[in-house]
C-alpha cells in the first residue's frame, strides 16, 4: 500500500509538471497578449509605449525564462501580480475560491442527493410510469444547457415573484443566503443529477439481477434492505467514478452559471482573465484547478477500497 501511494504521488507530481508546461505554452500560442488588448481597446499603438509596457510586465523575456519565473514562484507560493488589476494574484484568486467551492459542493450534493435515490427508485420500479417519468426528467437534465436553464429560472423568478436570485454578498435572511447558492447550484447540478441517476439506475439494474440479491430476498430481507444495503452498496462504484469525473466537468458548467447568476467565483474570473490574457491569474488558477482535480481523482481511487472490500492496493 505504501509503495502504491508513493508511486501515485510521484505520478501526480509528473502529471502536474506536464500540465504546467501545457498551460504555459497553450496560453502563449493564443494570439495576442495583454498589451495588444489594452492598445486594441484604446484603438491606437505607440510602439515605444507598447514596448515599455511589455518590458514592465516581463512578457518581452524569452519564454523559458518566463516559465521558470512562474513555476519557481508557484512552488514558493509567490503567484505574482495580476496584469489587469495590478494586485497580487493570490489576493485576487483566494477570495473567489470559497464561493466557487460552495457552489460546486452544493451542486455535487444536489447531484448525489437527487440522482442516487431517483436512480434507485427508477431501477426498482423498472417499466412503470414512474420509471418512464424519471427517465424523461433525466433526459431533460442531460439535454438542457445549464446557461439556458439558469436564464429560465431567472426569468421565471422575475415574472412570478418579482425577485431575482442573483448573487448577494451580504444576505440578510436565510432565504437570501439559500437563494444565493442553492438556485444556481441546482441549475448547474441538474445535469450531473440526471447523469448520476442514469448511471445509478443502470448499475442497480445489473446488480438487482445477481444471485445474491435473490438469496437476500429468499432469506426474508426487506425490500429496503435489499435495495439500499445489498444492491446499492455494490452498485455505487461506477456512480462514485462518475461523480468524481463530474467534479472536474463541473468547472465548465460553473463558468456559465456564474456568469448567468453573476456569482463572483473563480470560474467566471478565469474566463475574464483569459479574455485579458492575464497570464499570472490564468496560469495559477488553472494550475490550482489541476491540483484539485488530480487530488480528487486520487481520493476517488482511495474511496474504491473503502466502498469495495474486494479492492486492495498492493505493492
Amino acid at each position: 500500500m505504501f509503495a502504491y501511494l508513493v508511486r501515485r504521488l510521484f505520478l501526480m507530481f509528473v502529471t502536474l509538471f506536464g500540465i504546467s508546461i501545457v498551460i504555459f505554452f497553450l496560453l502563449r500560442i493564443v494570439p495576442g497578449n495583454i498589451v495588444d488588448i489594452l492598445f486594441a481597446a484604446a484603438g491606437y499603438v505607440d510602439p515605444a509605449d507598447k514596448a515599455n509596457l511589455e518590458k514592465e510586465l516581463g512578457i518581452d523575456r524569452p519564454l523559458i525564462v518566463q516559465y521558470w519565473h512562474w513555476i519557481s514562484g508557484f512552488m514558493r507560493g509567490d503567484f505574482g501580480f495580476s496584469y489587469v488589476s495590478e494586485k497580487p494574484a493570490l489576493q485576487e484568486i483566494l477570495p473567489r475560491i470559497p464561493i466557487t467551492a460552495k457552489l460546486a459542493g452544493l451542486a455535487l450534493l444536489f447531484s448525489a442527493s437527487i440522482g442516487i435515490p431517483l436512480g434507485v427508485i427508477s431501477a426498482v420500479k423498472q417499466g412503470t410510469k414512474l420509471d418512464y417519468a424519471l427517465r424523461v426528467v433525466s433526459l431533460s437534465g442531460l439535454s438542457l444547457p445549464s446557461f439556458w436553464l439558469g436564464l429560465l429560472i431567472l426569468t421565471a423568478s422575475v415574472a412570478m415573484f418579482g425577485q431575482m436570485p442573483i448573487f448577494n454578498p451580504n444576505p440578510k435572511t436565510w432565504l437570501e443566503a439559500f437563494a444565493t447558492y442553492a438556485v444556481p447550484a441546482a441549475a448547474v447540478g441538474f445535469r450531473s443529477a440526471a447523469l448520476t441517476m442514469r448511471i445509478t439506475r443502470s448499475s442497480m439494474l445489473e446488480v438487482l439481477r445477481q444471485d445474491y440479491i435473490r438469496t437476500a430476498r429468499a432469506k426474508g430481507a426487506s425490500e429496503a434492505a435489499v435495495n439500499y444495503h445489498h444492491a446499492l452498496k455494490n452498485a455505487i462504484l461506477p456512480v462514485i467514478t462518475v461523480i468524481g469525473i463530474e467534479a472536474a466537468f463541473l468547472i465548465g458548467g460553473l463558468i456559465v452559471t456564474e456568469t448567468v447568476f453573476n456569482i463572483p467565483g473563480v470560474a467566471r474570473f478565469l474566463v475574464e482573465a483569459i479574455r485579458w490574457r492575464d497570464y499570472p491569474i490564468v496560469q495559477n488558477l488553472v494550475m490550482f484547478i489541476a491540483v484539485v482535480v488530480v487530488f480528487a481523482n486520487f481520493t476517488v481511487d482511495m474511496l474504491y477500497a473503502v466502498f469495495d472490500p474486494r479492492i486492495r492496493y498492493t505493492d
Binding site: I37, L38, A42, D46, E86, Q163, P264, E272, W276, R277
Partner: protein
C-alpha cells in the same frame, strides 16, 4: 470678454436649473444609486482609458477645468460650464487660453488643489512629465499646445501653436479630468484620488465598483447621493432582468438596444427610457494599399451599393441616423443637412439607380456576373460589429462582390488592422466630443495612429487646419460640411450609420440627463437624487 459671457450663461442656467428643480420637487439627500456595469474595466484611470466603461463609473470622482452642462443633452460651445476653473479667457491672438482656478478645493486625501496639479495633468497627457501614463490614447488632442504654464497657485495658461477654439471642447470631455500631482499614474489606476463629488471606495474586478459621497465637496450641498454602486454583470440578459426586478435603479447608460427596450417597457412599464445617438459611427475600412481596393472605382462602387436605411431598419427598427463623418443634426452640431448629404454619391434615395451605377463601375474594373470579386470582410467578434458586417456582405452581393465574414477576436483586431492584414473591414468609431477637430485629425489626418486606412490627402488636411482655427461657428460649419462631403466622396472610410441606444431608470431616480451627441461626457451624477 468671453469669460463674462460664460459667467452670464452660467447665471442664466442657474435660474433655469433652479426652476426645473422646483418643478421636479426638492432634491432629497441620501441613498445609494445602484447600477449595473456592462463589463469590468481594465483599471480606474480615465486618462489611460479609451472606453466609456471607465468614464461612467469614475467621472464622478473627478473635476475638469470646465465641463459640459450635465443637464443639457446636447454638448455645444454654449453649454460649457466652469468647473475647477472659475473662468477662462483667450488672448487677443487666440493663442493663449488662461484659466482662473477655484480656490479652497481639496483632493480626496485632504491635500489642496493648485495650478501645479493642472500643469502636471496636461504635462502627463502631452508626454512631457517624468512620470508616464501606461497608455496615452489622447495625446494627439494636445498637439497644438506648446506648453501649460502656471501663473501663481490659481492660474494656468495654455500656450498654443495656433488658434484652436475646439480645445475647450476637449478640455470639457469626460476624458479630461484633472489629476493630482502627488499621486502616481500607477496609483491612479488602482486607487484614484480626485476632487469630485464622489470618493473612490473599491473596485473589485468582475464584481463591483463603489463610490461614496465626498462630504467636503467644494460645491456646497452636493452630491445628493450617499454613494453609487456598480455591480459588474457581463451577461446582458441577467443585467436587464435584475433591473426589471428592481435590483438596480438604473441600467448602464446607452446599453439597451432598441429591440430590448420593448422588453423592458413591457416588464417595467413605469421605467423611464431614453433613446439617444451615441455618436458612434459604423463604418467600412478599406485596405486601399493593395488590390483590389487600390482601385478607386471598386471603392466607389462599394460605397454606392450601400442601402443605409436597410441597416438602420434591421438593426435599430428605424431609430438610427444616416450621415457623414460628423453626427447628423438635430443632435449633432456639425453634421451635414439632409439635402446636402443626399448629393453625395451613394446617399441618394434611389438605391436601385445607385447600384446600377455601382455595377457599371465594377464592370469597368473587370468584374461582373460571371467574374465575381471574392473578399473577406473582417470585423471584431462582437455583436455590434458582426451584425452589420453580415448585412454589408448581403448588400455587396448586388454588385458582384462575394464577401466572407472573418471574425477577429478583440486582442487581434487592432494589430491586424494596423499591419493592413485585411481587405475590407467593418469598424465602429466613437467620438468623445462632438467636434470636427477630434474626428478629423484622429481618423483622417496623414500619419494619425487611428487613421486605420492610411487615407492621406494633403489638400484636405489644409482644410482641417482652416476650420480648426475658425472661431465663428457660423463660418466654421460650412467648412466642416465641405470637408465631410469630400471625405465621403473619396471613400476615405464610408460611414454606414450612426447608432442610437437606450438608457432606462426607475421613476424614483431624478436628475439624470443622457447626452445626445456624446457617450463620454455626462456621468458626473453630482445632482442626481433618489425620490424614495
Amino acid at each position: 470678454m468671453r469669460s463674462v459671457w460664460a459667467l452670464a450663461a452660467m447665471a442664466a442656467l442657474s435660474v433655469l436649473t433652479a426652476s426645473t428643480a422646483t418643478l421636479a420637487g426638492e432634491p432629497k439627500q441620501g441613498g445609494i444609486l445602484r447600477m449595473y456595469h456592462r463589463d469590468s474595466p481594465a483599471n480606474a484611470s480615465i486618462l489611460e482609458g479609451a472606453t466609456y466603461s471607465i468614464n461612467i463609473p469614475f467621472m464622478g470622482v473627478f473635476n475638469n477645468l470646465l465641463i459640459y452642462d450635465q443637464h443639457i443633452a446636447q454638448n455645444s460651445p454654449d453649454t460649457l460650464r466652469p468647473d475647477l476653473a472659475e473662468s477662462w479667457s483667450w488672448s487677443s491672438d487666440n493663442k493663449k487660453l488662461t484659466f482662473k482656478l477655484r480656490q479652497g478645493v481639496k483632493w480626496h486625501d485632504g491635500k489642496p488643489f493648485t495650478s501645479a496639479d493642472v500643469k502636471c495633468s496636461f504635462d502627463l497627457l502631452m508626454g512631457k512629465s517624468q512620470q508616464k501614463l501606461r497608455q496615452n490614447p489622447r495625446k494627439a488632442w494636445y498637439s497644438e499646445v506648446n506648453e501649460v504654464t502656471t501663473n501663481g497657485e490659481f492660474e494656468v495658461t495654455f500656450d498654443l501653436k495656433r488658434p484652436q477654439p475646439s480645445l475647450l471642447a476637449m478640455l470639457a470631455s469626460g476624458y479630461t479630468p484633472v489629476y493630482p500631482c502627488h499621486v502616481s499614474p500607477a496609483d491612479m489606476r488602482t486607487n484614484p484620488i480626485g476632487t469630485g463629488p464622489f470618493k473612490f471606495v473599491e473596485f473589485k474586478a468582475n464584481e463591483s465598483i463603489k463610490l461614496t459621497r465626498n462630504p467636503n465637496y467644494w460645491k456646497k450641498g452636493l452630491p445628493h447621493l450617499d454613494g453609487i454602486e456598480y455591480t459588474i454583470i457581463t451577461n446582458r440578459s441577467t443585467a436587464i432582468l435584475a433591473f426589471v426586478a428592481g435590483k438596480f435603479d438604473m441600467t448602464f447608460p446607452t446599453h439597451i438596444t432598441i429591440p430590448l427596450l420593448k422588453d423592458i417597457k413591457s416588464q417595467a412599464p413605469n421605467a423611464t427610457c431614453v433613446v439617444e445617438p451615441t455618436n458612434v459611427s459604423t463604418n467600412i475600412i478599406v485596405n486601399s494599399t493593395s488590390a483590389p481596393f487600390d482601385n478607386i472605382d471598386i471603392r466607389r462602387a462599394m460605397a454606392l451599393a450601400l442601402d443605409r436605411k436597410a441597416f438602420v431598419d434591421i438593426l435599430f427598427e428605424g431609430q438610427g441616423d444616416i450621415g457623414g463623418t460628423m453626427l447628423p443634426p438635430p443632435q449633432g452640431l456639425w453634421g451635414m443637412p439632409k439635402d446636402r448629404l443626399e448629393t453625395i454619391p451613394g446617399y441618394g434615395r434611389d438605391i436601385n439607380a445607385n447600384r446600377e451605377e455601382a455595377r457599371k463601375l465594377m464592370q469597368k474594373a473587370g468584374y461582373g456576373p460571371d467574374k465575381r470579386l471574392a473578399v473577406k470582410v473582417s470585423t471584431r467578434n462582437i455583436a455590434e460589429y458582426r451584425d452589420p458586417a453580415v448585412i454589408l456582405i448581403d448588400q455587396l452581393k448586388t454588385i458582384y462582390i462575394d464577401g466572407e465574414l472573418d471574425v477577429v477576436e478583440t486582442a487581434n483586431w487592432f494589430p491586424k488592422v494596423a499591419r493592413k492584414d485585411y481587405m475590407l473591414g467593418l469598424n465602429l468609431t466613437g467620438n468623445a466630443v462632438d467636434d470636427p477637430d477630434q474626428s478629423f485629425y484622429e481618423n483622417y489626418a496623414c500619419g494619425s495612429e487611428r487613421n486605420y486606412t492610411n487615407y492621406c490627402n494633403k489638400e484636405i488636411e489644409k482644410l482641417f487646419d482652416v476650420q480648426s482655427q475658425e472661431t465663428d461657428i457660423g463660418k466654421r460649419r460650412p467648412l466642416v460640411w465641405d470637408i465631410d462631403k469630400k471625405l465621403q466622396e473619396d471613400v476615405a472610410r464610408p460611414i454606414i450609420f450612426h447608432a442610437r441606444a437606450g438608457t432606462c431608470w426607475h421613476p424614483h431616480v431624478k436628475g439624470v440627463t443622457i447626452m445626445s451627441n456624446s457617450s463620454y461626457n455626462g456621468f458626473r451624477y453630482e445632482d442626481v437624487w433618489l425620490d424614495k
